[in-house]
Symmetry: D2
Subunit: 342 residues, 4 copies
Amino acid sequence: MKTAAIVGASGYVGGELARILLGHPDLELTQVTSERMSGRYLYSAHPNLREITDLRFRSLEELEPADVLYLCLPHGKAISRIDEFDSVAGVIVDCSADFRLRDPQWHVQWYGEEGAAEWRGRFVYGLPENRREELVDAVYISGVGCNATAVNLALLPLAREKLIQRVIAEVKVGSSEGGTGASRASHHPERAGAVRSFAPTGHRHQAEISQELGIPAESLFLSVTSIEMVRGILATIHVFLESSLEDKDLWKIYRSAYGEEPFLRIVRDRRGIYRYPEPKLLTGTNFCDVGWRLDDHGNRLVVISALDNLVKGAAGSAIQATNITCGFDETAGLGFPGLHPV
Amino acid sequence: MKTAAIVGASGYVGGELARILLGHPDLELTQVTSERMSGRYLYSAHPNLREITDLRFRSLEELEPADVLYLCLPHGKAISRIDEFDSVAGVIVDCSADFRLRDPQWHVQWYGEEGAAEWRGRFVYGLPENRREELVDAVYISGVGCNATAVNLALLPLAREKLIQRVIAEVKVGSSEGGTGASRASHHPERAGAVRSFAPTGHRHQAEISQELGIPAESLFLSVTSIEMVRGILATIHVFLESSLEDKDLWKIYRSAYGEEPFLRIVRDRRGIYRYPEPKLLTGTNFCDVGWRLDDHGNRLVVISALDNLVKGAAGSAIQATNITCGFDETAGLGFPGLHPV
Amino acid sequence: MKTAAIVGASGYVGGELARILLGHPDLELTQVTSERMSGRYLYSAHPNLREITDLRFRSLEELEPADVLYLCLPHGKAISRIDEFDSVAGVIVDCSADFRLRDPQWHVQWYGEEGAAEWRGRFVYGLPENRREELVDAVYISGVGCNATAVNLALLPLAREKLIQRVIAEVKVGSSEGGTGASRASHHPERAGAVRSFAPTGHRHQAEISQELGIPAESLFLSVTSIEMVRGILATIHVFLESSLEDKDLWKIYRSAYGEEPFLRIVRDRRGIYRYPEPKLLTGTNFCDVGWRLDDHGNRLVVISALDNLVKGAAGSAIQATNITCGFDETAGLGFPGLHPV
Amino acid sequence: MKTAAIVGASGYVGGELARILLGHPDLELTQVTSERMSGRYLYSAHPNLREITDLRFRSLEELEPADVLYLCLPHGKAISRIDEFDSVAGVIVDCSADFRLRDPQWHVQWYGEEGAAEWRGRFVYGLPENRREELVDAVYISGVGCNATAVNLALLPLAREKLIQRVIAEVKVGSSEGGTGASRASHHPERAGAVRSFAPTGHRHQAEISQELGIPAESLFLSVTSIEMVRGILATIHVFLESSLEDKDLWKIYRSAYGEEPFLRIVRDRRGIYRYPEPKLLTGTNFCDVGWRLDDHGNRLVVISALDNLVKGAAGSAIQATNITCGFDETAGLGFPGLHPV
């Protein structure tokens, strides 16, 4: 049993980490911090945890050593205090974007912040399906971007085969992606029923996709649209292929890549309602479902992927990566199968 | 053609007044005020009005005389500046709660503000179905409370016949009732899908119900629950009757009361989906639909009413009252029939 | 490890039982039946179970003995084949309404079916909070009605103290309560955003409430309204009390009744958004949350309860009752804490 | 005043035509047909029209001559009875797909039905923004496909300038697009909250887009995703341009094309929530809002369009086309500005 602490636990990713850790067989959640809510019960921020735990928030000043430290601070904050965190943690998992990009120049370009090159090189990008071997020995793990993960997991098998010529991804997202900060844009009468072009171009997760898939930025087009949903992502990804393929080729490629993956499922049925991935079935789970449909012409493919942005797109992948690093069963704590109907 | 101005037009009721007035055959909207948005286009607050009008917000200081002045200020603000408004308006319609209660003591009790007894007596409560005759000569009109209106219109016919012994009303409401102010409670991830006991007891609209129906406060129980909806109210009202009734008696009572009312419909079908009132069908309309179901025992009745809180529950009733006062066709500007499906 | 089988597993309650049983430490799901889907995978009806299990539906004819047999047939079907089921099962849990009412006359009255008096007497009503001792030795367990359970769990502590004079319950429900059968009323364009008076009076669950609380039917008034929600129930219950109470009395009564109950939580906070029970937090969980607000006058109370109709209102209570009967940890398989935000 | 009749008026497009015609100053709705509902009130199918009209459905056999005949039959039915309809109507507007495609071969290819070449040539495609001059003298008008219209109106200005090299359109749609037929897929517990890949490739509306924009089918890629919404379409359209453009070029192109169009609005604000088109604001209106965002590289553009599938995407365009043909004010009956919030 190792101890875990969450820094910045009042947000949605922090809450989701707490939920998973409180049911984890090998990790014990012993500390949660929040400056704003210091002294109050964890359940006052995350009411689903009422009577599940009597942990209280403490301030960062009161943070004591932990085997695994999860950082859920606003982007830019982890970089500035990383030495301090390093001194109290065995393993650090940073859920912000601070250490996702390997290339310091690129980080500067996309996030407008200092590169922190020396630290950057130590972090492993925490996507088990692409970095499992590096994660085994990792001490510093970077969390993943939720939209990036939906695209990365959809396309990894194709990217490894060098089949991708050009990608146009339209990612549909829920409101929890925006975090806990209330604003006019998130005000229910304005946000309910919205189909809102949040980022038609220029979304920062493009950098992570480019890095993980090895696709040049100029071949990658991403639009993000907010829809009526709290949790969940559906990515509809038009892929122009380097060479013409048949459906059986795709089955082979995806099965070969994901047949042994515990959280990747191929969803491509001939009948029924749920023939392609659907995010609502994945609410609360660590699954990423992937399906596709090949154009008649054979050189264009629509790949569809779904996941829960707070689990597989954030806290779940972070726990899965921790499980690998710590030598636990990779699926420990991540067994919730999801609900139907929901 | 008379001129109309809206003070405090950046809120939801102000926006709804603007929408209706811009399509009104006898009233011309010439001024809209907002301190915060002064100088900006009306459509920047109410994007449905883009290219419908090029009116811009002005500040209250710039307000010029108007035949009809609609006040949509936060509760408490109209009282404090009523003399000032009186000097520039022919007719004043105040949409806040400032002048709804006739009895100054009662206003003090429910709103904790000064009574303003002299002004209070001049205002007519702007519910045409109950105050049509007084409205004909009114110069000062008070808007109505939306939840109160759902209950009042459901029960007026019974109250007039002195049939009501005790009332337990459960009112289900949408998020627009809370106004434009964003908060954690209205933040989409928290508010979406909520079924939230907003006011299990003690809602201030009880005072208006008691006043209009002539029922003592101690016989009236009101609970208000917020549900997943932007616009709309459904009131489920359990009525214990003074004497046992049959269904045909109720038909007679309601038809007699509402047969000539242009915006009241009895909805009580034997088959189909929409056998009882349903608020989504009323979105954007000035209708209040009313239905009922009598208990087998005959002395308890469930009355059901539905309306759009921003129209019949606010702006629509205000325009209808204005039409009466100004001698226009009572339905002028209020012809939108509603949509299906929606 | 005991074996479990579900008869009629293609419906929503059957699917929820399957989900819970597939994660249960002491029960192994070995058979699922469906005439319509015989031969197909369980996940073709319940897509959340894809790659969780490779169980296939079989027909009832193929049913083999099981330690625990869950019956999820349409109302009326279990009675007619109960001898047959009895011959292959150690314990029978019937999730329909066939054996909920103890009194055969009452069953005839409310359901218009034969009384089956001899079998009826053998069944224990499967609400652990009210029947725990009887359940210890039960061989035949009846499932519970979801709406009834929301009201029963809200009021049990008061009923035991003989404090209830009259009850008016307004129960707000989601669409999954209606089962898997598609119809015009459940067609998404018609059902979405609905606030529909499903049963203003005369809902059959009144009989179960009356039976479990010991309140005469003539003191109990129930209205059921369908709202925009898939899973979940919120009951807003106006209680007129036999004697005047203070808030501290209520705390004492509820804490005394529910302090040791593993799935009952008192939710009554002074601040925050989630001051009262809220069903969305309970999606997928076996919790029933209960709160209240006392009227100023002291003799009227609004009690609020929330639960997931498919879990605590059906499959979850059935598993909890099974755990008691079989001598397992009462909470086995029911540990999912729920999500936030959702 | 001319008379209008709707054949097949029990469906959603028929109901929307009825709503608009009942408020039209120059057209009088005198007949509605439905075989299934013959003899019943129009409002029994379209409850929003309760007390708006007392029209009753008649059977097709009882159809009498009308100046304008709207056909809202299932695809394939209008072709087979067109001679019959021709004999009783002055102008025919067919809202099905039967006569949308000019090229008989193409119709056979996409719809698998006979070409009916002689009739096909007489029909004008009823999209006023592209066919206004032809519509002036039209006697036979074809309705438009809703998804096609969202893409066509988004891209017409670019297509006219021969700027389009390749189009990848992701169209998000509501449930009313599927019509009134209930099915498991439209069952609320399954459809609510869905983000469902309805047609990742091969949607038949591609043919209409290709025809109206003059883009070869092989340059046009369309995916359609069903989301939580009843009415509305948002099209997110990635356009690869023939030559590099600047933002001011686009303003010029779109303003020049749509500056005088009564129902096309350019929505592209720098601040606020509604910077791009948003379908919920258009519920019930005949507007199509269009916006765009240019990629940094200048040769890729994301064009965004929104409309109400039942109005601008069907009934509204049909009425607008009728207004042109009949010489009425083009906007007659189509003045509803939409609601906010909603």
